[in-house]
Amino acid sequence: MMLLLALAMLPGCASQVAAKRQRAPERAARFADGAAARPAAVLAAESVALADPDNEDATSDRSVVYEADYQILVPSAREAGARFLEHAKTLGGRLSSRSLSRVEVRVPAARFQALLEFLPGLGRVVAESVRATDVTDTVTDLRLRLQTARTSHTRLLSLLDKTSNVEEILAVEKEIRRLIGEIEQLEGQLKNLSEQVAYSRVAVAFRNLKNTTSGSPAARGPSRFWWINRVGVESFDD
């Protein structure tokens, strides 16, 4: 009965020091093999990169997610998309998604600004949207919840070692399973968020110049750039 009472109090007493385990029964080891036994992976997930696109040396303790969406008018959407992707890769970025006229990449947050500065060179920017979302509070909250869940998990493992009552064992195991699920979920959220902070998202929709005219006959008209109309085999006849 005392064990069940302790189980009910677990979420509120996470800061208490768990009793030292005197033995290591198989049933405790079985649960310990779940979420709490992966410190390296968890640490990697928690190491949220802190980057300030305007200042690589910034020591800000804020976690910020940077995102940008652009629309660019280009002579050739396919070629411009390829050049954009190539440049993103040289900055350490990677492809997220790609279609005929849209390319989305993720680049290290420290290179976000450099990639944006490259975009006007591809063509005429007709729309742009840049956002910075501060997720510091969310990251802090997730970390605290994760820490609490892990502490509870450890304490339950200790409690499991101390009881021989079948009913109590089942209740503790059920709670441990729930906690493992919660820990994995929190780790996933934290990892996803750290990924978003570390790698900024830049999406560019490329529009072909000829698609901006109405109908194909218009696309056969002269170039809007007068000098282009003065070059080519035809212009040698003049």
């Binding site: 000829k210 170039s223 000098w227 080519g232 085999v233 035809e234 006849d237």
Partner: protein, 157 residues
């Protein structure tokens, strides 16, 4: 000569210093036209040469009204020639002029006035000006001039 006229002439001469074009025209070609419009700001220039087999070489300098860069003009030119005019792109290459300025070269095939031709265009972005070197000739004689013209592009200044 009035003082105003003298100032105008001096200005034109000074402007020509940054606007004149020079290209070591291959010896197979004869220069038939060469001019500089020093009164345009920035100055415009033009060189035209013809070979005995009627291959035509032309160097032009256009004012960049849009402040585009090399990549943009290169793409815009390719788009216009391929998508609007129906040229077929055969090859492309990077070039440099005499001062080390980067340029982009493309070679196309095209049928014009019932004649199968080839066309080379090399574009340079020289700040306020766009410099263009062109070679066109009947397909069967084009290749004999290609190497010499590509070498001449390296002398553009």
């Amino acid at each position: 000569m009035t003082r105003a006229t003298a100032i105008l002439v001096c200005t034109a001469v000074l402007s020509c210093g940054t606007g004149c074009l020079h290209l070591d025209v291959p010896r197979d070609f004869l220069v038939v036209s060469s001019w500089t419009d020093a009164f345009e700001v920035p100055p415009a220039a033009h060189i035209a040469a013809v070979a005995a087999d009627e291959a035509q070489l032309r160097v032009s300098s256009f004012r960049d009204d849009w402040d585009g860069n090399l990549d943009y003009w290169y793409q815009a030119l390719e788009h216009d020639l391929v998508d609007r005019r129906g040229y077929t792109l055969l090859q492309r290459a990077d070039r440099q002029d005499a001062k080390g300025l980067s340029g982009r070269e493309m070679v196309f095939s095209v049928t014009h006035a019932g004649i199968s031709k080839k066309y080379l265009v090399c574009v340079f972005d020289a700040g306020q000006r766009i410099r263009v070197v062109e070679l066109t000739a009947a397909a069967e004689v084009f290749d004999r001039h290609l190497e010499a013209v590509q070498a001449a592009i390296a002398t553009l200044r």
